[in-house]
């Protein structure tokens, strides 16, 4: 068959691609696609301006080195890889670190109100796992400001006409069409397994419809809600990733879940107090006397235990999150030295995060957004009182497995259709939903960056794929779409008939409680076995739920049951992956296997779905896989590309451990050339 050419399919339709998700990753993908002349249909559960990226507080990393500390993309690469305990493939990380300054400048040009220095330059602050001022920020609502900037650019593309190959306007067709309040249900695959569209559900009319596409990108964010309560938005159920995993997409490193050390406990959500609080000088402590009755601000300096600073003099309060969370857990859970509560007569699972020694106007200028959250939800003034915080599930390093093509200089081949491709031809993934950039632990302020960078890579990658494809997704047989639509409609109708005794929201709470208790900071194999048994039980009980709502209009009950089922499947990937990995690496910590074991486990976890017995889900873990892309077969394995920074033991006691070049940051002087000071393979 001839190569698919031009803007229209054989049937005369404008050939679009689909992006599911309008957080930073999805929106950036859309922008790159539009710039490449590829029209897009953009789907989102919520208006994209309300996507979860809006929550990000602290900032975005880029080694712009405006403070004369000797920072560079090379150091950024080294510290990211070291922070991730060497589990990340290094070429994508290098690509990201190299692109970061350009990304921040682009955001600046888009009008993001980044904080400024006296000279009118962008200001940068410190974040975890580094000694450099590398984090650009807009107050303490950076994610919101970044999301708005990209949202505005995409809104502009909603007004831009589609042009054909000769530059003639295609009447009535705009570059971006938005479908907001739509729930992605599944991809549509043709006979060869290639992804040629999606099935989605309109959350007002509840219509289940299929949409053709030349390619599809999932940018659907993380799965924090699998843990019940987390710092995530309530829409982050991971349902889309789970759905395509069940259709054959490989899920990578699922067991790597980041627990953030400092959040406010709450009944509906655990609200984050960003690492930027510590980046600006915030200090973590508990009273030395476990029965200390005085309120935090009245406890004199000498009676405080600044335990992070004491144990990690090099990085202090800014050790990476996995380490900080474990230390907090140790203090509160094992040593029972959390803040004492007079009323309950208990040491609460809480430590102090203290900003009261910093000038108020500085705090207002740089951190108002998060302090406002503390004030509103706790009802205490954080300018005057040390805040009380505890760790909470925050971010998933794992996600859909995606490929990359390494360039000669150790980075990514620009525009390669392999970049960000899942193992299903025509299906791409970008953002927190992919597993690519953070290894076993993500450094703070690297996620906004990886989301935008992944979008910058995915757009061109999909454009190349589309250009080279033989037949457009639009020219797949109609029966392919009808079949998919019919299948998903039938499933939905079945959901509406569920009239059992179990309450789906109750089951979700049970799942969250089990995962939270035994599958987060500390993992023990016997307890993980129990979690897995609990997932078995919940999968069985989920078949006996009551849908609670049979309305044909804006039904949330049936939608939630679908998400619940998908969450249970992902929970198993996470728990089973944790059970299998008998070592400690980054966020995955097993007291019985305290050391990192590179010999056996310096490899990605690759999970494939299998329907199991009694209708339960099952996971198959594989060491290698082959997938089709544009007429050829690509072979990949679980080995990690460590071609740029050689693995070594990961310790943060000493300053500069993450990158030898970092000593420059310490004395504020120009550092020696970083590459020379670093071992590289």
């Amino acid at each position: 068959m001839a190569q698919a050419k031009g803007i229209r399919s054989e049937s005369g339709k404008v050939r679009r691609v689909i992006v599911v998700g309008g957080g930073l990753a999805g929106l950036m993908t859309v922008i790159k696609l539009c710039e490449a002349g590829v029209p897009v249909d953009l789907f989102s559960l919520v208006p994209v301006k309300r996507s979860h990226s809006v929550c990000a507080q602290g900032g975005i990393n880029a080694s712009v080195n405006t403070k004369g500390e000797g920072d560079s993309p090379r150091v950024h690469l080294e510290e990211t890889v070291y922070g991730g305990d060497f589990l990340a493939n290094q070429p994508p990380v290098k690509g990201m670190a190299d692109a970061a300054p350009g990304i921040v400048y682009m955001l600046d040009r888009m009008g993001v109100p980044f904080n400024r220095t006296a000279e009118g330059l962008l200001d940068f602050r410190r974040f975890g796992g580094t000694l450099f001022h590398r984090t650009a920020f807009a107050g303490a609502t950076t994610g919101q400001q970044l999301l708005y900037a990209l949202d505005e650019q995409v809104r502009r593309f909603e007004t831009v006409d589609v042009e054909d190959e000769k530059g003639i306007v295609v009447k009535g067709e705009k570059m971006v069409r938005k479908f907001e309040f739509w729930d992605f249900v599944s991809i549509v695959q043709d006979d060869t397994g290639r992804c040629v569209g999606i099935v989605a559900q309109d959350l007002k009319t509840m219509d289940v419809t299929s949409f053709p596409a030349d390619a599809v990108c999932l940018a659907t964010g993380g799965p924090g809600i699998v843990f019940g309560r987390s710092t995530n938005s309530v829409i982050n159920t991971g349902t889309a990733a789970s759905a395509v995993y069940q259709q054959g997409a490989c899920y990578g490193n699922g067991e790597f879940i980041q627990v953030h050390p400092t959040a406010i406990p709450g009944a509906d959500k655990l609200r984050l107090i960003s690492e930027s609080a510590r980046g600006e000088g915030g200090r973590v402590w508990v009273p030395k006397d476990p029965k200390e009755r005085r309120v935090g601000r009245d406890v004199p300096e000498g009676d405080r235990d600044y335990f992070l600073e004491a144990k990690y003099p090099g990085y202090g309060n800014l050790v990476p999150r996995d380490i900080a969370s474990r230390e907090l857990f140790l203090k509160c859970f094992h040593e029972k030295k959390g803040v004492y509560n007079d009323k309950t007569n208990k040491n609460e699972l809480e430590v102090y995060l203290d900003l009261t020694h910093i000038q108020k106007d500085v705090l207002k200028h740089k951190l108002a957004g998060i302090l406002e959250i503390y004030e509103k939800f706790v009802g205490e003034d954080p300018y005057e009182n040390p805040m009380r915080v505890f760790p909470a599930v925050h971010y998933s390093m794992g996600g859909l497995w995606v490929d990359f093509e390494r360039s000669a200089d150790g980075s990514l081949v620009a525009g390669s259709p392999r970049n960000q491709s899942t193992n299903i031809e025509g299906l791409y993934a970008a953002g927190e939903v992919d597993y690519q950039y953070h290894g076993a632990n993500r450094l703070g302020a690297n996620s906004l960056l990886s989301c935008i960078y992944a979008g910058m890579v995915t757009g061109p990658s999909m454009a190349t794929y589309r250009k080279n494809m033989k037949t457009s997704g639009y020219d797949s047989p109609k029966s392919t779409f009808d079949k998919a639509e019919k299948r998903e409609r039938a499933k939905y109708t079945d959901l509406l008939k569920l009239d059992g005794k179990e309450n789906p929201y109750g089951l979700h709470k049970e799942l969250g409680d089990a995962m939270l208790l035994d599958c987060t900071i500390e993992r023990h194999n016997d307890k993980l076995d129990k979690v897995i048994a609990k997932i078995d039980e919940l999968e069985d009980r989920a078949k006996k739920v009551n849908v609670l709502d049979t309305s044909e209009h804006a039904n949330r009950g049936a939608q939630f049951v679908r998400h619940l089922n998908n969450m249970l499947v992902l929970a198993r990937v996470i728990a089973q992956g944790a059970r299998n990995r008998d070592e400690s690496r980054g966020a995955h910590f097993k007291p019985a296997f305290k050391d990192r074991n590179d010999k056996e486990f310096l490899r990605s976890t690759l999970a494939l779905y299998k329907g199991g017995e009694k209708g339960r889900s099952e996971v198959t873990y594989v060491r290698e896989l082959d997938y089709n892309l544009a007429g050829r077969s690509v072979h990949v394995t679980d080995s990690v590309d460590i071609s740029l920074v050689t693995p070594r033991a990961r310790k943060y006691e000493q300053a500069g451990a993450a990158s030898a070049a970092a000593t420059g940051a310490l004395d504020g002087k120009e550092s020696k050339k970083s590459a020379a000071a670093t071992p590289s393979a």
Binding site: H52, P113, V234, R556
Partner: protein, 252 residues
């Protein structure tokens, strides 16, 4: 927990064409409870005070920390985000809590309304910087810290709809665009690159439904959860449009 109960009185409607009705629910009190966690309790046990099993109430929400704008509704007669509506503050002595959907937007179901007009208005006022492209072109224009300090509060608008809900000029008989979009005109006209297209934005809020339709009731600032100086924004944009009307042709 405790046996303290919270009573929720919720204005429900299955769809725009169905009847409105009030339903009441009792839920168990928890420390640090907010309206959302109370509604979540209703989901786990959707039974009214008179023992009737009903479909759980539906509402819109996402971030739960008052930064996405999704969960806006009328709580005890006042428009606000329900995530920051803490039970102990809005019902200190166990008074019943009323929840109702916003009234200035088409109803979808229960507490969900359709705010798409607000997003269309952002298109109308061209609330964006006209970028040459996302490729590397170096940093943006240098800006004094004071510029950032003026722009940042304006750019925290969540498109939540509180200001439109509270504005008497926003009603069935008027096309008033409302404070949120006008504030965006100010924001983008402040920016060194954005100001290059200032007149297009000003022209979008001149004429019918534009900035001149503001009745100066000042309700908008009262209800804005992010304390955006909306009245200032309206005044500034209003002055700029007047100037443009009087002298704009001279500059052409």
């Amino acid at each position: 927990m405790s046996d303290k109960k919270i009573r929720l009185k919720i204005l429900r409607q299955d769809s725009p064409t169905k009847e409105k009705r009030w339903e009441e629910f009792d839920v168990e009190w928890h420390p640090r409870m907010n309206v959302i966690s109370a509604l979540m309790e209703v989901q786990r046990n959707p039974v009214t005070v008179d023992g009737t099993k009903v479909a759980p109430v539906v509402w819109e929400s996402s971030c739960l920390e008052e930064v996405c704008g999704a969960c806006t509704m009328i709580v005890n007669g006042r428009v606000r985000q329900s995530c920051t509506a803490l039970i102990d503050q809005i019902s200190p002595n166990g008074e019943p809590i009323t929840l109702a959907p916003m009234t200035k937007f088409p109803l979808v179901r229960d507490l969900i309304v359709d705010r798409s007009r607000m997003f269309h208005d952002l298109t109308k006022v061209k609330a964006w910087i006209t970028l040459d492209g996302s490729h590397e072109l170096g940093p943006g224009p240098r800006q004094a810290p004071e510029n950032q300090e003026e722009a940042y509060p304006l750019s925290r608008c969540m498109t939540c709809g509180c200001c439109l809900e509270a504005c008497p000029q926003v009603n069935d008989h008027s096309n008033f665009i409302g404070p949120a979009a006008i504030n965006q005109v100010r924001l983008f006209n402040l920016h060194p690159s954005g100001s290059m297209h200032a007149t297009e934005r000003l022209e979008a809020v001149m004429g019918e439904g534009g900035v001149a339709d503001c009745g100066k009731a000042q309700n908008c600032v009262e209800v804005c959860p992010k304390e955006i100086p909306l009245v200032d924004s309206i005044a500034q944009v209003s002055r700029a449009t007047t100037k443009h009307m009087l002298f704009g042709w001279l500059l052409k």
